[in-house]
Symmetry: C2
């Protein structure tokens, strides 16, 4: 089984060369500046932690899984120790507020860390991942007293956090949750109900677990406008900060899942558990959604992680495995067969993975820098970043995970039968990754958010703002002869993107179902166009470096070649998505519910 | 967890109405005629066996898996007993020769049985499935003495068979196998070597296991021309037919796999095991490949099985699960939310599955009837069937399993997070089904076989024969106003199919890698066109029935609507495949091997 090696070369290319992160970080008013040296040091240290500590317990974690007992949940061998090392390294607090013990760096640094940690061991990454989300929520929404009570311990990592939204009957439709919050005389609330699918909901890594829980107070309005947000610690916290009595929240079971088996997915029973209101009653969903964009980009990262993991393995395998002769004559005449990397269809599978990995990395890193700007940018930066994040986050979440899953499946396919057995670890990537298009909002939910709320909900304005950026890019570079093919195609697609939006919008005036019927095709189309923009930028940059004779010519040559592969072999999928959208909703809606299956 | 219900209504539609199976069976010279009554009785009885015996042990089989010990392999609870029932029902011998105890029916009957058995429990279906393949091989290639020794027990099911091709270093590339066969003085051979991935290679269901083993005799030519085929029984057989001493073949381990965990995938060590040559030395691969088409259609069936299994579950779930309101206003105003089947994107996912299930069923059943014609047809039928099988089998194997896997993943997606946990059984479908695009020749191998051997290898003649059939169909029906849209599109695609073939052929003259680079896009394109032909035929038939007021109007209406969905929402994928093919091989081949990954 080939070991994970952090792709620092490509990460640095995207950060330093494509996105000029040094200038970006210098422009931010973060409490601590992320200097080039510090960035390099963090990436370097995290890469070692991912490669040396997390990767070696990835497969064993999958095989052992988590173990439930009435006393709690035991994580697989090595998980607790790895978490301890992570805490000792000070990693949980990289981007958290110095006021509560954090290092005050821009948020993006923790996403780059997440990429390496998540590629090496996604299951493990769920524990600090959910905790980070709870820190962000409390930092944004908590009272001073709440922050003082919980943040220092969450930020140092001795406690961890969770997000408790889903109930058995309420998944995408969080508006229908039933968990109750009855006010107590002392200002706290008594929380009663059942939450499911709670990642890191119970485990043995930290001294306390702080649950962020959505529930309804008595008399709350129905639906999403009647939901409040509560802090429910596993152990109550005494005034001096020490742990008090066990609260009434218990893990009833953990799920048996297709993958991410080392991530404990808990069913939590709240039985008059003591909870503390965050903000005001009935504003819980808005409070929770303020940080949803960042969480969704975090989940999008899983798409990149699984694609990177599969690419590394399948390229290694394709270089070693001898099977069949090249169609153009033996390439390894002294061996019994040629290395399978010579076969065109194996190359197609590898290049498809490479095109998604590197294209999606550029897209996500760019998007993550918008998170920095939202937090520490000037007013103009904030405004731009808000618009970009709103529009592009659902695309990132759905497109990067869908294409990541495709890439992971291609990695398995490169192995043939050897990919289906556990030995090489590639089937685990597919099983672990399969959840990514589902949780944190399914692809369908993201698609509705994109076309419904973000695009049509702004009368198309947010998209127009963005297509103008692409248009300007195409105008600037259309006379570059090296880029003519790509820029021409990008300009056409950018124009069609706007046209398709208008057509769907017009259809929606007559029939709202036109929006839903087109939504996933629209999202995927949008994703392919976005990646075409990033690939054009990378190809252009690489060509400039090659022309100037700067840097590693192999690296830049591969970039240009992969860009071309993307444009020629992958981007044509926009044709299919556009035609499917333009067919309209009728064939999707015509069949009656009773006739949907007549086997 | 919803239980499997055999889709007899749709199976009967395809068999009786679309393919006129009564006339088909009446035209065959099978030892026993498959009368309409007998067909119905078999389908009915098998459906009960699949629903009542096999489906209930599908999930438990996955959870328990197979257990290896030095003494042998134990199958999960209930598997042995189910196999006993299958044997007692006389099912193993349905299509086998009456001379050796079979029932002498046309082969297709056993494929329809396979669909139901395989949808209910694919792991279990592997044991009789491999045995059937060994019966076919021995029936075709064995001496009278070999047939008399093995066939009666294999056909009654008290013994089972296997196919032993793969070795650790030799998968797709069977030409480089190393297993040795040294001649003994008595005319038998001593077989020594290691075979891996042997389905049903060791288990506790039958008294003996008869391995069909590829090996090389001393001095054999290198490569595929130096491979011979041997019978290697687990227990040697005495002259009176009783079991003799244990032969030198032992199961060293079984694989730990992503899915089909109840199917024992054995590593077999042959240590001077006694083997008996089938036919003549060095002709083994041809002998084995004679029956490869039928085996590949059998594996294609897994694509249909997983899609049917997922469709049944996800439609049930979509009818029950209440989540969100319809975009066009509440459809279930008295409930807390609408059933998710009202949402356009859920309908898109269900209809995509339905279009693949029913389209692929029509395609496979039609193809399976060609198997009948090859065996029991007149000379003209045989010739036609041979050509059709050669051309279409690789498409069936790869296209039906690829689209089956897509369908299974959409079924999981319909469940949201509930699809990722074991409870509903839908994640098992994805895990079990993932092997189908890999074994019995990967998608890439099928695609090379199609475009290289079958199409370009015949100078395009086999494809021209087939596109003429489609052309004639389009000419016949182009004036039917109800069908105008579909027939027009089908005619265009049929024409383009020929053009693309010519273009790839012309490119291949200059560079053989053009074939490999286009191969999978070509295969998928071909599959979509084929399914368009079957959907046009089904729509046309259904419209005729509706116009005549015959039969179940709901069923026919749904057929017409699903056909339209297929044409409008799925068939546009041909645009992407055609454009990707036309881009040529350069962007696939340009990147150097060293530069394939630069992370």
């Amino acid at each position: 089984m080939s070991a994970y090696k952090a792709p620092l070369r490509d990460m640095q290319f995207v950060l330093k060369e494509l996105l000029d992160c040094d200038a970006h970080y210098a422009s931010l008013a973060s409490p601590e500046p992320l200097t080039p040296d510090l960035l390099d040091a963090v990436l370097d240290n995290v890469s070692k932690f991912a490669e040396e500590v997390l990767d070696p317990i990835n497969r064993s974690g999958d095989e052992e899984g988590c173990t439930w007992s009435a006393e709690g949940v035991a994580t697989p061998a090595g998980f607790k120790e790895a978490y301890q090392q992570y805490v000792e390294g000070g990693w949980p607090g990289l981007a958290a507020s110095p006021e509560f013990g954090g290092q005050g760096l821009p948020a993006s640094i923790s996403f780059f860390m997440d990429e390496m940690v998540g590629t090496a061991n996604w299951s493990w990454s769920m524990y600090p991942g959910l905790s980070k989300a709870s820190v962000e929520l409390l930092s944004e929404q908590g009272t001073d007293q709440q922050k003082n009570t919980y943040l220092p311990r969450l930020i140092e990592g001795s406690w961890t956090g969770t997000m408790c939204l889903t109930e058995p009957h309420a998944g995408s439709d969080v508006g229908i949750i039933k968990t109750k919050a009855e006010p107590n005389a002392d200002g706290s609330y008594s929380i009663t109900g059942t939450k499911i699918f709670i990642s890191a909901g119970e485990h043995d890594m930290s001294e306390n677990i702080i649950h962020m829980v959505l529930a309804r107070v008595p008399g709350a309005p129905e639906g999403t406008k009647g939901i409040s947000l509560f802090i429910v610690p596993k152990f109550l916290v005494n005034d001096d900060g020490s742990l008090g009595e066990r609260n009434g929240v218990h893990c009833g079971s953990i799920e048996h899942k297709m993958g991410i088996k080392a991530s404990a997915t808990a069913l939590l029973n709240f039985d008059s558990a003591r909870g503390y209101l965050i903000g005001v009653e009935n504003e819980g969903l808005n409070q929770m959604f303020i940080m949803m964009n960042a969480a969704r980009v975090g989940t999008a990262m899983q798409g990149l992680c699984m694609a990177e993991a599969g690419l590394q393995k399948s390229v290694d395998y394709a270089r070693e495995r001898l099977q069949m002769r090249s169609l153009t004559g033996p390439k390894n005449p002294d061996g019994p067969a040629d290395r399978i990397i010579v076969h065109p269809d194996v190359r197609r599978m590898l290049l498809t993975q490479k095109a998604f990995v590197e294209g999606n990395r550029a897209f996500l890193y760019w998007l993550i820098m918008q998170v920095d700007k939202e937090t520490y940018g000037n007013e103009e930066q904030k405004k731009e970043a808000d618009v970009a994040m709103a529009l592009l986050t659902p695309i990132a979440k759905a497109f990067v995970t869908e294409t990541g899953l495709e890439a992971a499946n291609l990695a398995l396919q490169c192995y043939g039968g050897h990919g289906y057995i556990r030995e090489h670890g590639v089937e685990q990537i597919v099983r672990d990754g399969r959840i990514a298009t589902v949780y944190e909002g399914t692809t369908g939910i993201q698609a509705l958010d994109l076309i419904g709320r973000k695009v049509l909900g702004t009368g198309g304005e947010s998209l127009r703002g963005f297509t103008r950026v692409l248009h300007k890019y195409c105008e600037q570079h259309k006379d570059n002869p090296e880029m003519a093919g790509m820029i021409g195609r990008l300009a056409e697609l950018n124009k069609e993107w706007g046209e398709l939006t208008m057509e769907i919008g017009a259809g929606a005036m007559k029939n709202a179902d036109e929006v839903g019927a087109a939504s996933v095709d629209y999202l995927m189309y949008s994703g392919y166009v976005l990646l075409a923009w990033f690939w054009a930028q990378m190809a252009q940059l690489a060509q400039r470096k090659l022309a100037a004779g700067e840097g590693d010519a192999n690296f830049y040559t591969a970039k240009v070649q992969t860009a071309r592969f993307y444009y020629e072999r992958i981007l044509p999928r926009t044709l299919a998505h556009a035609a499917a959208m333009r067919a309209g909703a009728e064939s999707t809606m015509a069949i009656s519910e009773e006739n949907m299956y007549l086997g």
